[in-house]
Subunit: 140 residues, 2 copies
DNA sequence: TTAAAGTTTAGAGTTATTCTAACTATAGAA
DNA sequence: TTCTATAGTTAGAATAACTCTAAACTTTAA
């Protein structure tokens, strides 16, 4: 399992890609490393901005393609939240929830173990899962 | 309080609008009546389609403006869900959750009383509310 | 070394929504 | 009743976030 914002070498990222059936290219290694090791719930736009500054040349399509590919093979996850129309990418691939700080716009992962849910739904409602987003403020 | 998919006369809709500080126009009365009394979690597109068929003339901008106005004054609510990039409008203005049928795409309201949530978050996380969407299937 | 296959790219296209500027309706003043 | 100010509606342009396309590279594998 990949730990959030871990430090991985390019070689380790490359292995990770190949192990998941994704041929490792320069662009994929860079983007994967950024999303897995550096960024925090970035949007495609943020990844593109980063990539423009950190690769000699990159196109928007490659960023979207790569994020799509990484999501497909399960190396990252894509989320869409109520407060925004942009998809954000998350290196945390385990089941978890989110806390949205309404003041700062910051998104924080919430471990699923910190939430207990008691549901009383009709028998014929078969629940496969649920999305849960807390809204509030993180005081310091 | 407005009951979901209630039957209201045009006059009652008009009163509702005026009481909420929204001058009643033909377009607003029609759209409001449709979203409050007839539709079930419609998108702006669905409201526009309905309006095109039920008003002599209507523009997309009016549909968006009106849905925005109705949302602002609290007569309806706007939701954005993980499974779609379209905003849906809900005549249920009370706190509640949703069940998304992955087979049919249907959205169903879930009363907040049918969910008990136990949260164990750090002290400094002040929760103002949360969005909860069940994913699954409604068998019949 | 040479195809075949896969990857990246620029730029065009799409979708949902918002903006703009002109036109229209309405309510109160004269 | 007529005028005028204000607000509402409209068509069409603009925007934002993606997605597609077709050409140009790059590998990979024989």
């Amino acid at each position: 399992m990949i730990t959030k914002n871990c430090v991985l070498t390019n070689q380790e990222i490359e292995d990770l890609l190949v192990k998941n059936g994704v041929p490792a290219t320069l662009q994929r290694i860079a983007i994967c490393k950024y999303v897995v090791c550096e960024a925090n719930h970035p949007t495609a736009e943020q990844v593109f901005d980063w990539a423009k500054n950190n690769l000699q040349k990159i196109s928007q399509a490659t960023v979207y393609n790569t994020l799509g590919t990484l999501t497909e093979v399960g190396l990252i996850r894509a989320f869409r939240f109520p407060h925004s129309d942009k998809v954000v990418y998350d290196c945390n691939t385990q089941d978890h929830f989110h806390f949205f700080d309404e003041k700062t716009g910051q998104l924080v992962d919430v471990d699923s173990s910190s939430v207990k849910l008691n549901i009383d739904l009709p028998q014929n409602y078969k629940v496969h899962g649920f999305d849960l987003v807390f809204k509030g403020e993180i005081k310091n």
